[in-house]
């Protein structure tokens, strides 16, 4: 138990405000599928410890970008993907959470959470102890031995997030993790995620359709253009942290929202006009 507690302590240790060291850098990343240009020269840098949210019209190549960053897809030659400043194959180096929770029905909460740790060859017992210690943080205390089909949608997402956190990587890639949740659960999960993030300090790239969510969560919001996808706009969000829901109705929030809405709207119209939506 002490061992797990030590590890948890390490995980929980909040570093000083991270120096602006670049964790992930994309330079001129393109991807073509046959005749379709999905991504065209994407340039994007994410600093260590930064929470970047990414929005864009449907079909803008978000998933393609995510799969490239997750290392599941190769970028076309000519582009560069740098992790900690060095070109690297990202497969196995990024904690990736897909849209659906993809929990395995034959594994209980703990064993789902340690899936990644297990693949890495960490001893099961040790990983389980660590997961057990984390369960309270993830609102799963008392549910450690439940099976996914016994949990609510919000809890399932928290198990998936715990699995992602336990895959101990500096860069986390979250693909619309709250997309399928109802509005109330979603708002609760957003606040919870910020809380967890402030304690576990990871670099996060978070994809979403929801502009409110993007602003509420992010240090920076990145807007993608209609296909072929590239970065249309980057907006730093200087709203104070910790953030609470009252923020959503402040003038500062609304000003940012209007600016981003205009950009997203413009791109959505392009997609609509081209018949891709």
């Amino acid at each position: 138990m002490t061992n797990a507690a030590d590890q948890l302590d390490q995980l929980l240790t909040v570093g000083e405000a991270p120096a602006a060291r670049t964790k992930l850098q994309l330079r001129g990343v393109s991807r073509r599928f046959g005749a379709v240009q999905a991504l065209a020269k994407v340039d994007l840098g994410i600093a260590e410890g930064e929470f970047v949210t990414l929005i864009g019209p449907s079909g803008c190549g978000k998933s393609t970008l995510f799969n490239i960053v997750a290392g599941l897809l190769e970028a076309d030659p000519g582009g560069e993907v740098l992790l900690d400043g060095a070109p690297a194959s990202l497969l196995g180096k990024v904690a990736f959470m897909p849209q659906r929770d993809l929990l395995l029905p034959w594994r209980n909460v703990l064993d789902n959470a340690i899936l990644a740790a297990e693949v890495e060859g960490r001893p099961k017992r040790e990983a389980r102890e660590l997961a057990r210690a984390m369960a309270a943080d993830f609102g799963l205390k008392g549910f450690e031995n439940h099976y996914p089909q016994q949990l609510s949608g919000g809890m399932r997402q928290r198990v998936a997030l715990m699995r992602t956190f336990l895959f101990d990587r500096d860069l986390m890639l979250l693909d619309e993790p709250f997309g399928a949740l109802d509005a109330l659960t979603r708002a609760m999960m957003q606040r919870w995620l910020l809380d967890i993030w402030s304690r576990y300090r990871r670099t996060i790239l978070f994809i979403t359709h929801d502009i409110d969510e993007a602003i509420f969560l992010g240090d920076r919001v990145v807007v993608m253009s209609a296909r072929p996808g590239s970065i249309k706009l980057e907006r730093r969000i200087d709203l104070p942290r910790p953030r609470d829901p009252a923020l959503l109705t402040t003038p500062a929030f609304n000003a940012i929202k209007r600016e981003l809405l205009d950009a997203v709207e413009e791109e959505s119209m392009k997609t609509f006009a081209s018949g891709a939506a």
């Binding site: 799969n67 599941l72 297990e118 693949v119």
Partner: protein
Amino acid sequence: MSRATWRGLAGGLVLLALWEGVVRGLGIAPWILPPPSGILATTWTVRGALLDAGAMTLFEATAGYGIGAVLGIALAMLLALATPLRKLVLPMVVAVNSVPVAAYAPLALLWFGTGALSKIIMVAFIVGFTVFLNTLDGLLRVDPAAVALLRSFGAGRLGVLWRLRVPSALPAMLVGLRVSTVRSMIVAIVTEMLGSQKGLGWTIFEAVLQIDFLRVWAAILVASLISLGFFAAVGALERRVVFWR
């Protein structure tokens, strides 16, 4: 016992009573359809011989079943990993499997004799195909997103097979195993009928030649009970293994 089981039993008893009544009421000749009471009486009288025959058939069926299941599962895992090999082998397997089993039985008797071996091989053959096709289908029908997730964790082909494909395939595999129980008994009995000196198939065949229809029915009764027990045992195993369905 569950309520459903009781209802099933009650329904069975009603059916037997009806059968008994109709046979007696209409005076149907016993060689066309004997009454249940007659079948039970005969079963009791020749119980020693039926037990021996039943044990023989059960041995052939379960031995073939075990061999077939192991080979079927192993081959399915191999072909799930080796895609080029699968594309080469699978069409042939399906072609061989689409010929009715009974058609191969005379060949099995010719090659492996009229003892237990030919029955075990025939049973292994049919069980192997059923389990193989079901398992392979389960192994291949996994969520591509789940495969991508495991790969993102750094899992290789074997890791994906062990942590994702095999557990995902368990439901389909166990359906194959359950269906195969009855098939294994059928194939063992049919092959015995075509050539053997032992077993329930042989008992039925012999009794028909001797125009002893009560003994035919008694053997059918024993075969049905064994089949039912085998099916129920694997069904119970299925419910334990595939608990999440």
